[in-house]
């Protein structure tokens, strides 16, 4: 069931009305049932996987909270990690490793091959497994208490607004909210609905519209060159942002209506002044997950001193694995590797850049320095997106090579000028960036809320019908559902 579908438009109000009609002590039951039904809309059998993850981590969590030797605790944690990552590896990466190994075996004419299976990736598996794993790790570390109520823990793992594409919530944030449901709140209903409409605008009007041009270029790499490739890659950055942040807004809005606060997953990533800044603003729940559970778990301290080369290497490894998390393909590995390498280089060259800015007097002009940082960051991210979006490694290299072919520029401009959807999509992106800037500066939402009801309602109704009229209606899957 997609968020931008009529089914969800019916499902959510029914759940919300029932939710606020039943006593608090049964709310978790309703939400758990609703979450499993929501998941079963994708594929009924795969709900068994989510139940399995839930049961394993529930019992391991209980065990980890008990007093026992550290070695035994580590063994339980290891069991949780092996089971969870084993499931993820089996469903998501088995064929990738198998095909890669077959490629190597073919290269050496080994005459043998490993089997490749026809496995359908369960929707949201990367998200709910990471969410469940964060719970067992936090319990092990003593940061979070073990949840003794199986049903409420099951709801934490499968809460439908964030089940299939995050945000990846920490148990310390979500479980207490499940334990103490909030009463109906008018303001939360209104703000939740506003967030959902904004998310639908980003998804249906911008992301799905941009995808037409991006798909056209990326699905035909040999037939495109120069400006269309550059434009498609830049627009893909915005498509990805609008698609994913739009989904998150709908998820947060849906949860907010019922009284739950989910974490912010995006914070205006395109104004980032450095790569580190960017990754602190983009898919925040994932980057903080990797930071807390992988990066800081890797060794980089010796004799109470930080070994910087080791830390930089750990950064690279973390980003590499984060790239691989996105998909079982060498394109995603390269995506991660590029970002990891550039982040490490960014840290290593910080002093050099500061000296450069001082030498050139750019440091006197904060805005100019920030602009350079923003443009450089955006360029690096866009370059890495060649690999993220390309259908294969060879396609990505064809696209990069063709980027520098400007021989058909005139013809390309001619066709792009005629593409009304493209022009409209670009205008909407500009509109979005302006709106986000104004909102950050003047808090547009609060500003509007203080206006007379006639003006407020005109804006709300106008915006809703704008989304319905200009939205791309053939419900497209959210990009991050494939991860």
């Amino acid at each position: 069931m997609l968020f931008n579908s009529l089914e969800y438009l019916i499902f959510l109000p029914v759940v919300v009305i029932l939710y606020f009609s039943i006593p608090d002590k049964w709310k978790w039951v309703l939400l758990l049932l609703a979450s499993y039904i929501f998941y079963m809309f994708w594929k009924v059998e795969y709900v068994a996987l989510i139940m399995f993850t839930t049961l394993v981590d529930y019992f391991i969590g209980i065990k980890l909270a008990q007093k026992m030797p550290k070695k035994r605790k580590k063994a339980y944690l290891a069991l949780s990690i092996i089971v969870n990552l084993g499931m993820l590896a089996g469903f998501k990466y088995l064929n990738f490793f198998s095909e890669s190994l077959n490629g190597v075996l073919d290269f050496f004419n080994a005459g043998i091959s490993t089997p490749v299976f026809n496995i359908l990736l369960p929707v949201g598996i990367s998200f709910y497994i990471f969410q469940s794993l964060s719970y067992t790790i936090d319990v092990y570390r003593g940061i979070a208490p073990a949840e003794k109520h199986l049903g409420k823990f099951a709801l934490y793992v499968s809460f439908f607004p964030q089940l299939v594409a995050g945000p990846i919530e920490r148990s310390t944030s979500l479980i207490p909210q499940i334990a103490k449901p909030r009463a109906f709140d008018e303001q939360r209903l209104v703000s939740g609905l506003k967030l959902m409409i904004w998310g639908l605008f980003k998804k249906m009007v911008i992301a799905d519209r941009l995808s037409m041009f991006v798909d056209y270029v990326y699905n035909n790499p040999q037939q495109n060159a120069g400006v269309p490739i550059i434009l498609a890659t830049i627009l893909f950055a915005f498509q990805l942002y609008c698609d994913f942040s739009g989904y998150t807004d709908i998820a947060r809005g849906s949860a907010r209506i019922m009284g739950y606060d989910l974490m912010i997953n995006f914070n205006r990533p395109f104004i980032a002044k450095s790569l580190r800044d960017f990754w602190n603003r983009w898919h925040i729940s994932l980057t903080t997950w990797f930071r807390d559970y992988l990066l800081y778990s890797l060794p980089y301290i010796k004799n109470n001193k930080i070994i910087y080369p080791l830390f930089h290497l750990n950064l690279f490894i973390t980003y590499l694995i984060m790239g691989l998390w996105h998909g079982a393909s060498w394109t995603f590995v390269l995506f991660g590797a590029i970002n990891g390498l550039m982040v490490a280089l960014e840290i290593m060259t910080q002093n050099l850049r500061n000296r450069f800015y001082t030498f050139t007097h750019i440091s006197r002009y904060e805005s100019l320095k920030n602009l350079i940082g923003t443009l450089a960051t955006f360029s690096i991210i866009v370059f890495s997106l060649y690999f993220f979006r390309a259908n294969s490694l060879s396609d990505s290299f064809v696209l990069i090579r063709n980027t520098f072919d400007f021989s058909t520029m005139r013809e390309a401009f001619y066709f792009m000028r005629q593409d009304n959807e493209l022009i409209f999509g670009i205008l909407m992106v500009i509109g979005l960036l302006v709106a986000e800037h104004l909102h950050a500066k003047y808090n547009l939402v609060s500003n509007l809320a203080s206006k007379p009801i006639f003006i407020r309602w005109s804006v709300y109704l106008g915006f809703i019908f704008f989304v319905i009229l200009f939205g791309v209606l053939h419900a497209q899957k959210f990009i991050y559902f494939q991860f």
């Binding site: 579908s5 009529l6 089914e7 109906f184 008018e186 056209y216 699905n219 035909n220 037939q223 013809e411 001619y414 066709f415 009304n420 009801i453 309602w457 709300y460 109704l461 809703i464 019908f465 319905i468 009229l469 200009f470 939205g471 791309v472 209606l473 053939h474 419900a475």
Partner: protein, 327 residues
């Protein structure tokens, strides 16, 4: 929930519903495609049961009814074989009007999934299509939402149609339509296009799929058309309409045409009402000036094609020539 909030919430939702209703009705009344399609219906309704040739299909269908005597061009924009079936069923079963021949469009793009998954102008088609049946055949319950869209949200996602309706509002008053035929494609000449190959490539990739050349649901509905015509003793002539050489070249890179038409022919020949296929796709390969765009004839092209079609249809009735005409 406070009373004031409840009142405001209900008022807001009511306004949402009312405005939606107004927009929906306004779109249905003023949409240029609805106006065209409804006019087609009106003109066809004037016919008694003496029609000889009924041409159905999408915008490729350019049969000039001034030239082909006793004919009606019932093609409508973006019409798929699925939609053609339901319209034909309405004509034959509900209206009980039986033409002697159905001229059925059978271009490569008619059989692909892109055509089958198009639901433009749903507000017009909801009166014909049985969405429950369609959802069962397509094995996709999301099809049912198209019924809801067509009935209550006809304007949804249709901003292009709104734009066209405003731009062409004035032209609609002087709309020339004779037995369904509109001679409107006269303002572009494909021969003068800056890059014909690229334009053809763009178009082909938009309407054709590499993965599927014969959509499953379309296959079912194609056979249903055959069965329907067989049951009502209506002869079928299939026509592959002309296209530019550039477009044909691009089509063949995407779709295995021989394989597709082999399967189409295999289905069609099971029915005695099937008279054969007139394959005109390469008729004007050397005449790009007869085209409006890569796969549509302009007015002059439509006239020439119809003259040829009229001759071939006449020869079809001569048993000696028929054998030579349609192998």
């Amino acid at each position: 929930m406070s009373k004031q909030f409840a009142r405001r919430f209900i008022l807001f939702i009511s306004m949402l519903i009312i405005i939606n209703l107004l927009l929906d009705q306004a779109f249905k009344a003023f949409s240029v495609h609805n106006i065209l399609n409804n006019k087609l219906d009106e003109q066809y309704a004037e016919y008694d049961d003496t029609l000889k040739y009924l041409a159905i299909g999408n915008s490729h269908n350019c049969v000039n009814t001034y030239i082909l005597e006793n004919s009606f061009n019932y093609g409508s924009p973006s019409e798929s074989l699925i939609q053609s079936y339901y319209k034909l069923k309405h004509i034959l079963v509900e209206k009980n009007k039986r033409p002697e021949y159905v001229i059925l469009q059978s271009d490569i793009s008619s059989f692909g999934p892109m055509s089958a998954d198009r639901y433009e102008y749903n507000s017009y088609w909801i009166k014909y299509i049985n969405f429950l049946e369609l959802a069962k055949i397509k094995k996709d319950r999301k099809v049912l939402t198209k019924w809801i869209e067509g009935n209550f949200f006809s304007y949804a996602g249709n901003y292009k149609d709104v734009q066209l309706s405003i731009v062409y509002r004035a032209k609609m008053k002087d709309l020339e339509m004779y037995h369904g035929y509109r001679p409107h494609r006269d303002y572009k000449n494909f021969a003068k296009h800056a890059n014909r190959q690229r334009a053809a490539w763009n178009k082909a990739r938009r309407i054709l799929s590499k993965d599927v050349y014969f959509d499953d649901a379309t296959r079912v509905y194609f056979e249903k058309i055959m069965k329907l015509c067989q049951a009502h003793d209506v002869k079928i002539v299939m026509v592959r309409y002309p296209m530019t050489k550039e477009f044909s070249d691009e089509e063949r890179k995407i779709v295995p045409a021989e394989k597709l038409f082999g399967e189409v022919e295999e289905i069609a020949t099971r029915y005695s009402v099937y008279q054969g296929t007139f394959d005109y796709h390469d008729l004007y390969f050397n005449h790009p000036e007869l085209f409006f765009d890569p796969d549509h004839l302009n007015v002059k092209g439509s006239d020439l094609l119809t003259e040829r079609l009229a001759k071939d249809l006449k020869d079809l009735e001569d048993p000696e020539i028929k054998v030579l005409l349609v192998p």
